[in-house]
């Protein structure tokens, strides 16, 4: 098999996608927390009235961001699931190929039909390998989207801090909320970076 990875590399790849899925769960949890926090912030801004109009707009943006991030993570999770299926299939194919190859090597004069079987196996293997590569590229694209989204989140959470300063008697409460926004967003970014690095390394 040309471009045939070893069983060890496929197993490593499988473990990589399983880890990715675990990382996604962590990001989804934080996105959910941002969503709830943003909802509370919108209500707080509503109570504060005119002094927190800007804060309210930013909170809505953060809420939209958390929804978008959750959707993106769901797509990533679907791709990771697809990749796990494909690699499981690849591992099965590798094993079958190994056993068929051993059988072919042991037979004194392998028939053309047997050679055809081996060629079909190699083609099938190559097809699945390409599909895994495509899924990995798509995952990287989505992770890049998630990173950009988080960078946007970082920028608007900082804007929230500025807006909180105009909150007069609500200033302290708004500042606390904006600080939490910033912390949550800062927690997501390393996770996304780690997921990107994990995928690029393969």
């Amino acid at each position: 098999m040309s471009n045939k990875p070893t069983h060890k590399t496929s197993s490593g790849e499988l473990a990589g996608f399983v880890r990715l899925n675990e990382g996604i769960k962590g990001v989804v949890l934080i996105a959910f927390q941002i969503n709830i926090m943003a909802l509370n912030a919108i209500l707080l801004a509503h109570r504060a009235g005119e002094v927190a109009l800007g804060f309210g707009v930013i909170s809505k943006e953060l809420r939209s961001l958390s929804v978008e991030l959750t959707g993106l993570m769901q797509e990533l999770s679907n791709d990771a699931y697809l990749a796990v299926n494909l690699i499981s299939d690849l591992l099965r194919q590798e094993r079958r190929y190994r056993l068929l190859k051993k059988a072919t090597d042991l037979v004194a004069n392998p028939s053309p039909a047997l050679r055809d079987v081996m060629v079909r196996r190699e083609e099938e293997f190559s097809l699945i390998t390409h599909r895994v590569r495509d899924v990995r590229l798509r995952l990287l694209d989505r992770l890049e989207d998630a990173r950009k989204l988080c960078q946007f989140g970082t920028a608007i959470s900082r804007s929230a801090k500025i807006e909180a300063a105009y909150g007069r008697e609500y200033g302290r409460a708004l500042a606390e909320v904006s600080q939490e926004f910033d912390q949550k967003i800062q927690n997501i970014l390393p996770s996304i970076e780690a997921l990107c690095t994990g995928m690029q390394r393969r």
Binding site: R95, R96, L99, L100, K102, A103, D105, L106, V107, A108, S111, A113, L114, V117, R121
Partner: protein, 250 residues
């Protein structure tokens, strides 16, 4: 590598045993596969596990083109019996595998689907092979709850799956039983533990004693022939089996 040896031949009708693989990993139990061939119709009994597929395939190729195998018969569902099914189907997607109806939806975990698996009803069935006929004989609960043996009335050979099996030490792994009393010691523990039902055992012994059998061919161990066939049936009928013989140790 395993070797193929013809144990019966009458014109184009023959039985070949594929056995004894000195190069197999120690962790894998040794198995006997039998090729039943008649006028170009080739059937392989209990084709074995995936890991021994190359050895079976290569040994078979010294006798027939392995791609010409048209039928597989799985006496039951164990991995050492039929986990190579997917590999056989890779070689020939037209292969049909006969197995108890009980297992026809379990075995696809090894490969195959509703097209490649033919479910044998509990009461057994006949199947044409070349110009002759073979019979799938019920042997349920010996040891599997859906279990069959294969009888060839013209060759007077019964493929008996795990019944008659023996776990032989390497120095005594002859192909045919030579000294019944010595041999049967290696079969005793296996039968006591694996054959769970006295009722099923006696029913099988009664039916087998009425069949004309020149050779009783198990999936593990040596082949019984001549008087040793009846000796085995009588021995088995007397052997205590099942839970009453089992002492569970914690």
């Amino acid at each position: 590598m395993k070797t193929a040896q013809t144990i019966y031949q009458e014109g184009s009708h023959r039985w070949v045993v594929i056995a004894r693989d000195p190069s197999k990993p120690n962790c894998v139990i040794d198995t006997n596969e039998y090729l039943v061939s008649r006028e170009g119709d080739n059937l392989l009994t209990d084709p074995g596990g995936s890991e021994i597929f190359p050895a079976v395939f290569a040994a078979l190729s010294t006798i027939v083109d392995p791609m010409s195998i048209r039928y597989l018969f799985a006496s039951h569902q164990d991995p050492d019996i039929i986990s190579s099914l997917g590999l056989w189907l890779e070689c020939n997607p037209e292969i049909r595998c006969y197995v108890s109806r009980l297992w026809s939806s379990f075995i696809p975990h090894f490969g195959g689907d509703e097209n490649s698996l033919v479910a044998i009803p509990d009461e057994g069935m006949g199947m044409p092979l070349g110009s002759g006929q073979i019979e799938y004989v019920p042997a349920h609960f010996l040891h599997s709850s859906g279990n069959f043996h294969l009888y060839d009335p013209d060759a007077r050979i019964l493929f008996s799956g795990d019944v008659g099996a023996a776990l032989l030490p390497p120095e005594e792994d002859e192909l045919f039983v030579r000294d019944f009393d010595k041999h049967i010691r290696h079969a005793e523990g296996f039968h006591r533990r694996w054959m769970g039902s006295t009722e099923a055992k006696l029913d099988w012994c009664e039916r087998a004693s009425r069949m004309k059998i020149d050779m009783l061919c198990p999936q593990h161990g040596s082949i019984y022939q001549g008087d040793d066939v009846m000796r085995f049936i009588n021995w088995f009928a007397e052997l205590p089996v099942g839970l009453s013989t089992f002492r569970h140790r914690r």
